[in-house]
Subunit: 138 residues, 4 copies
């Protein structure tokens, strides 16, 4: 039902306990879903269309770096306007990830923790250290 | 320096106060960067290559839905193994977003908040309600 | 009905004339569609799913270059096995383009000619020469 | 050196033979490379940047179908302006494939023939018929 909440929603601890302030990420999740629901957009949020949209936003993020050599990429980072543009494209990807997680009933942060653990297995430190090879080639 | 940290709760400054427990998202950021640094992978993390990788992981996520009709998508969601597969692909995208945010000095959660605000402007509730049109066509 | 056919050389109409041998590209179009039809796959070829698949194959092509610096890319080109791998990924994109063109009734080669003409307009030689800028920034 | 040429450039057959008229695809290859060279753009055409660009153009093609249900996709195909838009996006992908093939010394049409042959092996008619499953699941 809700993205990124079960890993973060603290349980009350009996009488007198106060609900802790939500973390910024939890607030973001809430605002993303409220944004969607105020526009009645849940009806369009099929998992497949959301996955398409994540892919398209990732392409817009990549477009910021198209045809750019390392010097131009470095310049992009120090220019405040371009830095903001890149950051907002990243924000778009995150907003859509949160939307898909909600539809699928996925705890996004928990899924990333699990994947990181899986990556620990696939890329053992002693073999992966300093190498950009894929795990199949390690 | 750090992704998604500046938006986190400020540490209390009073005598005897303790630093609040990091939120799950903050913990994730810390673990993603530690994973990278234990492998000495920061050297490979150029912004352009990270943006490429985000795009490739988004494609792997989309691949879960390739050739699937709505019934098959629904079945995918209720099958625990497939659900986990999709969730982990989403986790991969988030892990790479966090990695890019760190390299660029972007506060990822803050960027998403800002983009959401921009989207509020581009998609006013009264005009966007119940419509899947792009803002240029609203 | 058929991709890339209407742009092909017209058949001579004179007495005794023979139909000219199809070009390699025309033969490819014929084989791609025959491959599909022998497997009864046209039923799966919705335009949207084909567009998704083109995007996924383009990602597999891009994956060949992920994390690679210019020296490694150059080495990739001179290694026969890797060169073939990249070439086949390009072949996959072309096969799917031909499949989508057939479903949409698009003459693929003609569409590329038209787009090239449009690009001539967007990127006038005198201004675009030696510049990697997008047309909006020219 | 040249894209799509070796499979199509006919060898002269001795005295008196005439060079046959190039096929539309061969003409397209020639025009795409001439377009590039008139703008002195070969310098920007690293294989990695071209692969990025193919991926981005594939995303623009996919964007034509974003949020669209089957009825809306069908309407898109019958609307001449939208049909042209989709066709031109396909043309863009083909133009960039031709550009990458030239830089890599790949015969694009031949590569697609080879990949089709490989697909014949991976998807035998008797098992693949009427099934949208991936070859690993056949």
């Amino acid at each position: 039902m809700s993205a990124g909440r079960s890993s973060s929603r603290p349980t009350s601890k009996g009488k007198g306990s106060r609900r802790p302030k939500p973390s910024p990420f939890e607030e973001l999740v809430g605002q993303v879903l409220a944004f969607r629901d105020r526009r009645d957009w849940r009806q369009f949020h099929s998992p497949k269309d959301l996955a398409i949209s994540i892919s398209l936003e990732a392409a817009e993020l990549l477009e910021c770096f198209q045809w750019k050599n390392p010097d131009e990429v470095a310049a992009l980072v120090t220019d405040p306007e371009r830095h903001r543009e890149v950051s907002w494209e990243m924000g778009d990807v995150l907003i859509l990830l949160i939307s898909l997680a909600d539809i699928l009933g996925t705890d996004l942060v928990k899924a990333a923790f699990e994947k990181l653990q899986e990556n620990e297995r696939k890329y053992p430190v002693e073999r992966a250290r300093g190498s950009a090879r894929k795990y199949r080639e390690l």
